[in-house]
Symmetry: C2
């Protein structure tokens, strides 16, 4: 078989692709020529007989290749007119499904702040001030792999004041969100000989994947009514002490002490994932565990819940003995974080806009939580609300005799209501666990919340009884379409991901 | 030895650290307590004798630990007053040297655009428009792992018009700069079974490191007067066709054809690193190689040279058959790129501000290059300027009988002039190569350029003869201090890095 030929004055090559074979090679060559534009729309191709002779191929092979490309939209076969390059070549790449995913009508996915409340004007003003004040070096990646000093100084002040973190600007590093920060920590710990990191179970599955991608083993910390059970022989443990994700527990004081003791005795590292510690509604936020053991605990925070996960800004407050290893990783140019957003957040904080926005959000979320809890107690008394008055979500315990998690999620989804099922967060799937739904109440915009709450409560009342006109979950449930199988979509950038 | 004890009401733990031993354990415990603030400044410690008894340690061990911490600044020993926690504990973490690095007085480091010319007002206006126009989803990471469609549509139009790239918005992905894009490509190619990627030698060393971190082998493509020699059995080759970095050659047409033929025949991937293709001064920019083979060539570009490397915005135009593998990598949450900067650049481009800024920069850089070349020809005729009239840098060939690269760089550095030596870009160090200096002329601000040019030319005239009062490099050089050893600092975020 010849490896190249010409159509008109256009040279074509037969390429051995991932899949070999004459027909595939011919198809790829023609596809490439059409996509490149080397074969212009309207160009008439030689007959399959002619090309077969030309290429010393079986005529069938050529005819099959033509047919395939006609089917894919690269070519058109006009009766009598032969085979012609199509006018508008169809995209040979299927648009991935996650690009098509749309926001649910009633969005109660956990971990999503009210993005409609993002302080646009104040953010724009902060960036304008940052641009006006900055030297030319602001347009070069931060000289210090820790990130811009302007932001780190603000963070040191804020974290000490708002979260009881004991740190200083030179022990803080800025990352592209908590997810990158966790990956950086994984690489840094691996570089100093760490083998395994333990994460809470239940917890966010994609955090386990991030750790695994750093080459470290991933262990589990079981969670009971006091929070994570401390122990195991991992080199580091990741905790959510202020508000266990997704169970909504505050780590018991004994467990906090146990974590510090474990670190002190084993030389292990505690990673404190303080993803929404600012949002506590029944008391002052519980101070960061890091404040009790700044030499053992890595404090991790981000702008994702306070402001927007689209900013990709997170930070670590590091124990001195970890700093050099983390900086060695952060010096990798492919991990550089944009400087303008860092300087903008610094200006935003300096103006008091962050405190203002968090205070306002806390009021809004507290009110939403109260309304949600009250409505559920009134309309669906069989469902128990678990978790402390904090954060952006509640855990709903499902009765053992009602529809299970998957059925409930699917039933609500058909009514446009999006929630997560607790099982999705479980690594250990052994089934003696209480089923539950994780319901985020922060995502809807202010004007949409009432309707969203109503849609949820109505759907749950139909499933789990209560005072709904349908008269109890049984009838309503049996009346509904067959429940869709399977868990909610795995987390993706646009939505289900609780903490991107 | 007991593992815990108390000072006042403060519990302390003796920790087995990376280094074991009683003294070290005690030091770390006290250091941690001081750094944590558990032991407040002014707190008086028990005498070494008392603590030694308390811990069943030799008194000397305790005394040595105290002495060490006094030396480190954690404790102070007042005559008579015993050992007290120091008022202002010194930072136990040495400030890394790259954080101290400062901008050289005469900055001629290659690859740096004139950051003082960053269009601050227009950028701020673009972000204000973007914030006003965006829906709430702008504050969530892009739904599509490719990045925001608004930017990808602008890029498709711009790249087709300005660089002859044949692509569409759905084949473009946005990354955090070229460095992240290269890492993403490495992971994607590795996932489809690739083993090795070949990069040009000479080239930027840290690009080899980025590829190596993805687990792929790194091969070299030798570069001759026609550009990179195409061949080898790597699965992908990275080329700088428009302007070889750092030699300043345009890839010869035969080599361009050879690269496409290599890809077509082997199924290999060509990665076109078009880092400064917009800047050509003697003719229209050479169109992207990708335009000739959009099914084999990954086009890579970024905002780093056109606008600012601090933005961390780069992009790939992908062949259809690579798209799914690249998107699978880009779905990793730790790689998410901030949305606001994407939308801001889209607005900036929509307003024609990018074209305007590139046109203006092209005029400025062309003028600077002309002045530099003329001054060198006049003052240091022994030095040959290599490379096409393009980009942000020139290559200066050094005479074999004069001071070598290291001597020249060190000599200029002592006069505040920062340039790179060619050898730093070489992977194959075999020594039969022409020595050279790589001189970037874009970095200085407009008002600083004349003085910077003068400092360079004067220093070079002293080194390599010409009309300088010192009368030739010999005397001047021997008169100077001994040349500092070693290459310029390895690339870091703040400076030496040619393309972060």
């Amino acid at each position: 078989m010849r490896s190249s030929w010409a159509i008109g004055d256009v040279d074509l090559y037969l390429e051995p692709g991932p899949v070999r074979g004459r027909r595939v090679g011919l198809e790829r060559a023609l596809r490439a020529a059409v996509v490149d534009g080397r074969l212009a729309p309207g160009t008439r191709l030689p007959s399959s007989r002619t090309l077969a002779v030309d290429l010393a191929m079986a005529r069938n092979t050529v005819a099959e290749a033509y047919a395939q490309l006609v089917a894919e939209g690269y070519l058109t076969a006009h009766r009598g007119a032969g085979t012609v390059v199509a006018e508008r070549p169809a995209d040979p790449v299927p648009v991935p499904v996650y690009a098509r995913a749309s926001t649910p009508r009633f969005d109660l996915r956990p971990g999503r702040p009210d993005l409609s409340a993002f302080p646009r004007a104040r953010w724009a003003a902060a960036q304008r001030r940052a641009l006006a004040a900055a030297g030319s070096d602001a347009f070069w990646p931060a000289a210090d792999p820790r990130g811009r000093i302007e932001l780190r100084e603000r963070l040191a002040e804020y974290l000490g004041r708002a979260r009881g973190v004991r740190t200083r600007a030179d022990r803080i590093v800025v990352c592209a969100g908590y997810t990158q920060a966790l990956a950086v920590l994984g690489h840094a710990l691996a570089a100093r000989g760490a083998r395994r990191i333990a994460l809470e179970d239940p917890g966010l599955p994609f955090l386990r994947e991030i750790v695994a991608r750093t080459g470290l083993g991933v262990d589990s910390l079981a969670v009971d009514e006091h929070g994570a059970r401390i122990g195991g022989d991992a080199d580091a443990i990741v905790l959510t002490p202020a508000n266990q994700s997704p169970l909504g527990l505050t780590l018991h004081p004994d467990r906090r002490a146990a974590a510090l003791r474990w670190a002190a005795e084993t030389g292990g590292v505690v990673i404190e994932d303080d993803y929404d510690g600012e949002f506590r509604y029944d008391r002052h936020p519980v101070g960061a565990l890091q404040g009790l053991g700044a030499d053992h605990v890595v404090y991790a925070g981000s702008a994702s819940k306070m402001l927007s996960p689209g900013l990709r800004l997170g930070w670590l407050a590091l124990p001195p003995h970890l700093l050099d290893d983390v900086l060695a990783v952060l010096k990798r140019p492919e991990l550089a974080v944009g400087t303008l957003e860092q300087l903008t957040l610094a200006e935003f904080m300096a103006a008091g806009d962050l405190d203002r926005h968090v205070r306002r959000s806390r009021r809004v979320y507290r009110d939403r939580r109260d309304r949600l809890v009250a409505a559920l107690a009134r309309e669906v008394p069989r469902l128990r609300v678990r978790g402390v008055a904090a954060g952006l979500q509640i855990l709903l315990e499902l009765p053992p005799d009602g529809p299970d998690e998957e059925e409930a999620v699917a039933y609500l989804a058909r009514r446009g209501v999006a929630v997560h099922r607790l099982g999705w967060y479980r690594h250990d799937r052994s089934d003696d666990r209480a089923p539950g739904l994780v319901v985020g109440y922060a995502a809807p915009s202010g004007h949409a919340f009432a309707g969203t709450l109503d849609a949820l409560v109505t759907g749950l009342a139909e499933l789990y009884g209560g005072t709904s006109p349908s008269g109890g979950w049984g009838r309503a449930y049996l009346g509904g379409a067959a429940p869709e199988a399977g868990p909610p979509a795995a987390p993706t950038r646009q939505g289900d991901q609780t903490r991107p």
